[in-house]
Amino acid sequence: MTWNTVTYAGWGRARSATGQVARPERQSSLLRDLANFAAPAFGMRRSYGDVALNDGGRAYDMTRLDRVVSFDPETGIVEVEAGIPIGDLGRAFAAKGWIPPVMPGTGFATVGGCIANDVHGKNHHVKGSFGQHVTAITLVQGAEVKTITPKSGAIWKATVGGLGQTGVIAKAKLQLMPCKGDMMVLTERRIDNLDEFLVAFDESKTDYTVGWIDATATGAHLGRGILEEGEITSGINTSKEGAKAVPFNAPGWALSAPVVRVFNELYFRRVPAKGRTSVKPITEPFFPLDAIHDWNRLYGKRGFNQFQCVVPPERVDVLRGMLEKIGASHLASPLAVLKKMGAGRGGYMSFPMEGYTLAVDFPNKDGAEELIKELTDMAQDAGGRIYFAKDGVAEATQVAGMYPEQDKWQRAVEKADPEGAMMTDLVRRLNLRESAKES
């Protein structure tokens, strides 16, 4: 049977959808089904909000289309089906001396999702975004199958980071990067406050740099955290990784303010005052939370939202304002990340821009959505933007003007999908395909 009615959610589980889903296992069935009925596609649903949801409509689950289709050991170009998780790809090729140049914070994200959200990694300041390393995409628009490349112009830039609105990504070619091995030398050190963090980012020389922030800290300690700096090194990981799983939804108090404060204090002190350096399999620093399956259950059945924004480098004041607001709210969870971004981006609607990106998880409690909306306003006022892969809360007016090339994207999308068959809940909620045209 092709269509199965299911209820599915984004990773944060605060947003869900009910609709008919097809899960093709072969390229031929995907093409046959899409020719009959055009609808958006989703992968592992590791985006937090509703960017991959289509409530009341149909959607394609791409997770069974997860194969490596070809690999050229001379050039390092690999072609994959869109449903392959990026971590699987990394594991399969690291031992052969190749690695995806950009990997997001979870290895479970599919390549199709990585392209549609033009994801970034801890090395964004060096390697740019995911889409910048994609060399070809097999794009299916209803009955039409086309191969597009960076030379294809607007359709390329509207597809990379394009939230799936130009068609279903069936396959893609990626340029892998040579690597010495699949181990990473990781240095961690305590950072006492935001100013120190900013200096540390500027001085950092490593390829992989990211900061964990204690979002509960206030006053003189505002913005304290741990800076992680990594470089890939030689050696092959031989350990058998056994992932643990969160077996059930945690109760509401599990991530209450006092628990988070204590956890963060311990997490901060886990790294010795003088710092430490260790060698780890790359999967650990790349995908720190993948070792715990279903960790989203820690937030209980109401789920959580993540706020992620980027603000221009000169707007550190806004960053500070955001951290103050978050600290005062007592709503933050232990998961908060700060990173300095470069300018690299692959498409019209790609999230990255030069500046500082802040990501914070909030349990889906009273007041959290209001707080996220306030933070979204602050990002908008500062000339920054929010990340659609994370959002489930913002309103259409709040994102207006955040993406300067939105009109170009809209024109390409209009041409690619005039019927609006690829629309998802997020695109509708934020009125992304219409808003700029009206104004």
Partner: protein, 248 residues
Amino acid sequence: MTQTAQTWIILGATSSMARAMARRLAKEGAMLILCGRDMEDLAASAEDCKARGASEALAMRFDARDNATFGPIVERAILNEGALNCAVFVGSMPEQSAINAEPSLIDGVVQDSHIGPATFLSMLAPHMEARGQGTVVGVGSVAGDRGRIGNYVYGSAKAGFATYLSGLRNRLTRAGGHVVTVKPGFVDTAMTWGIEGMFLVASPDAVAKDILRAVEKKKNVIYTPFFWRYIMLIIRHIPEFIFKKMSI
């Protein structure tokens, strides 16, 4: 289990269970011959297996209804040294109501699920005997344990195949080989996607893991997931005078 230099012929390699098993074998460095009808799909799976560590992976045409496709696969496999193994995932299950309306469909079901694979294995068996090693994995179905109103033609074909496997086990064991009969319950595949009444559905990868453990431990007959053994134990023991009135 070390599968280095092991050759595995996989019949019906486009199925999701077969794909999961091929992937696990690939990670152990096996030489794989992936057989089926959708050559484009098989070629993609072969590349995938190579990327994941298979020392060799090729796609070959196998059609259970065309004996002429059997010989070339056997001939290619025996070029490889070491143990020859074969996993059979083929079978077909039209709706019972369609068969009731068109009884000649039975030919195809029995050919796909029993005669075709049995003929192939009978061609391969002498080579396995000559090498004094190798394992056959035959995937049957819990449907073969008892004829039910909903799918008894399919069930009878699988029951016939299970009996064939039992005999083949008897034969290969004395030559140093082995046969594992696998009876999966509900598995989360394209065949079951969206069908109502599915419960306790297993992932294809969990089934593949069970199968390879059974190969390693030289199990004879396994149910996967394991609890189907008990479900079927109960179903087999329902007296016929009651069972004939049930529709399960």
